[in-house]
């Protein structure tokens, strides 16, 4: 049907390991291929619920800063329960 490869998505989320405190807030994050780092600050927190008519999306986002100064955008997928890191926010 296409005469060229499909569009390749950009900014695809990657699963990450996150340790949380009693209230469910991330305290440590291990990005793929890196050692775990402590979460220094949570700058923002928002939620997306979308496309309920197709494949539902339900995510709680947090914009965090790690202890090495790196900003990361994380989200907790409320449907599969996993944590993901994402660029593009």
């Amino acid at each position: 049907m296409s005469d060229a490869p499909h569009l390749r998505p950009l900014g695809r989320p990657k699963p990450v390991d996150v340790r949380t405190d009693a209230e469910g807030e991330p305290t440590h994050v291990r990005l793929p291929g890196k050692t775990a780092r402590r979460v220094e600050a949570v700058r923002e927190h928002w939620r997306i619920d979308d496309e309920w008519w197709r494949e539902p999306i339900s995510r709680e986002y947090r914009s965090i800063v790690l202890d090495d100064g790196r900003p990361v955008t994380l989200y907790h997928d409320l449907l599969d329960g996993r944590w993901y890191a994402q660029k593009g926010e």
């Binding site: 296409s2 060229a4 499909h6 569009l7 390749r8 998505p9 989320p13």
Partner: protein, 465 residues
């Protein structure tokens, strides 16, 4: 198996079965009628094939849909007209829907009120075109002279095929049998076939035929065969047909009684043509139809897209890609088509004829955007397609002002989104392709920049100028 029409002297006259007024002039025949406008008149075949075989499958599009959804076959079904965004009307109806009073051209609200259990189907023009192309390919194996006349109707030139396939009856049967390879048997069985000198005679013969029983009309029988044909079968302006009927002229036999000067005085050249067709003097040969190979580019979206801005952006990129295709080089574009495969499985397309031959991206994209605004896709788009379908003389203007010939520094500063790629970058891509077999470069493109979901906003598109 076929009905051969012999001389009227002392043998059964032509049966009047199959004279379905609606069938004699199918609604989508607008394209097909123009094929009868052969330059010049006269009985000689200028070029092309004089002996014509017409194959016609009424309600072609609806039948294809019923093949796809067989459970609807015995129900009341109506296919909606394509190309309408508001006040949708009915295009084709099944037998049961017809019995309930639903007719082509009715508004959907009217149709549903007549038949509450009516199932409405969205048209899928891409599917119908693909089926038509397949049919034409198969029939081209029989004879090189194939002339489509709208979807569901085709004329075949049969001159000189007697030695190969036998009698006209055998030729018609052979043509029908060849379609079993690509169409289900019920569809082939529903095709009407007619053979006669000239396209008009063949069309009338096909319209009068029963499914599976070709009607063959010889040169000598043509005039008498056409005598009982209703005037509505004439490929003339419908207003002229209405006037003829109001004058009490219902058949071609009645029309023939009028002298030519009288018809010309009333109807102009159309009157002369009508008389020529009615008497069998005018023979329109079947001419082989050469379709220039379109240039087609498409883009699949990771998720269906409905926003206009996104579609416009994708359209611009597709037009750029099509323009840069080697097959397009040296040719200007005169007609384009924009289509889409939609969420849920149907398709949509619009066509635009350009004001002037051009190879300029904006001049090609702008009319398509206009068409999209008038008839937008009814659902979210999964794949967007642009096709250059007709071409004109080489476009020299673009070459005259080709900025790519400037210095590499000036060219490098050019915006890549305009489709002008610096020469140095092109050379680099060429070299990479030689080494790797493909271009490993991508560029970031906006897909749905306002999406709340970050991974939907941008994407990578392979970069291969």
């Amino acid at each position: 198996m076929s009905e051969t029409h012999r001389s009227v002297h002392g043998v059964p006259t032509h049966p009047t079965i199959g004279w379905d007024q609606g069938a004699a002039q199918p609604r989508d025949s607008g394209h097909g009628w123009s094929l009868f406008r052969s330059p010049g008149e006269g009985s000689g075949a200028e070029s092309g094939s004089r002996q014509a075989l017409c194959l016609w499958l009424p309600t072609f599009e609806l039948r294809l849909e019923l093949v796809r959804t067989p459970e609807l076959d015995s129900t009341s079904v109506a296919l909606l007209s394509p190309g309408e965004s508001t006040r949708r009307t009915v295009w084709q109806v099944s037998e049961r829907a017809h019995d309930a009073g639903v007719r082509p051209g009715q508004l959907v609200s009217q149709a549903v009120s007549l038949c509450p259990s009516l199932t409405l189907l969205e048209p899928d023009p891409a599917h119908y075109d693909a089926a038509t192309d397949t049919l034409l390919e198969v029939l081209s194996e029989l004879t090189p002279v194939v002339e489509p006349a709208g979807r569901g109707r085709v004329f075949l030139g049969m001159d000189g095929l007697g030695r190969l396939y036998g009698s006209p009856t055998r030729q018609a049967e052979r043509a029908l049998r060849s379609l079993f390879r690509v169409l289900p048997s019920p569809l082939v069985a529903a095709i009407r076939a007619g053979m006669a000198p000239g396209k008009f005679g063949a069309w009338v013969a096909a319209a009068s035929a029963r499914s599976g029983v070709p009607v063959i009309v010889t040169e000598k029988e043509l005039a008498s065969f056409l005598a009982s044909c209703p005037v509505s079968a004439l490929p003339v302006d419908p207003l002229a047909v209405q006037r003829l009927e109001r004058l009490g002229i219902a058949t071609l036999g009645e029309l023939r009684r009028f002298p030519e000067p009288a018809l010309v005085a009333q109807f102009g050249e159309e009157g002369r043509s009508a008389l020529a067709w009615a008497t069998g003097r005018r023979i329109d040969p079947v001419r082989p139809w050469h379709r220039p190979r379109p240039i087609r580019v498409s883009l699949d979206f990771p998720t269906p897209v409905g926003t206009v801005a996104t579609l416009h952006g994708a359209l611009n990129r597709l037009v750029e890609r099509a323009i840069s295709r080697p097959a397009r080089r040296g040719r200007s574009v005169t007609a384009v088509r924009l289509g889409a495969y939609l969420e849920g499985g149907s398709s949509w397309f619009v066509e635009a004829v350009l004001r002037e031959p051009t190879a300029d991206r904006e001049k090609i994209a702008s009319p398509l955007r206009g068409k999209m605004a008038i008839v937008p896709p009814p659902r979210a788009v999964e794949t967007l397609i642009v096709e250059f379908i007709r071409f004109g003389a080489p476009s020299t203007q673009a070459d005259l002002f080709d900025r790519r010939e400037e210095s590499s520094r000036a060219a490098s500063g050019r915006d890549l989104a305009r489709g002008e790629v610096p020469g140095a970058l092109k050379d680099a891509v060429k070299e990479l392709k030689l080494r790797l077999g493909h271009s490993p470069l991508y560029r970031v493109v906006e897909v749905d920049p306002w999406s709340r979901i970050p991974e939907r906003r941008h994407a990578l598109l392979s970069f291969d100028p």
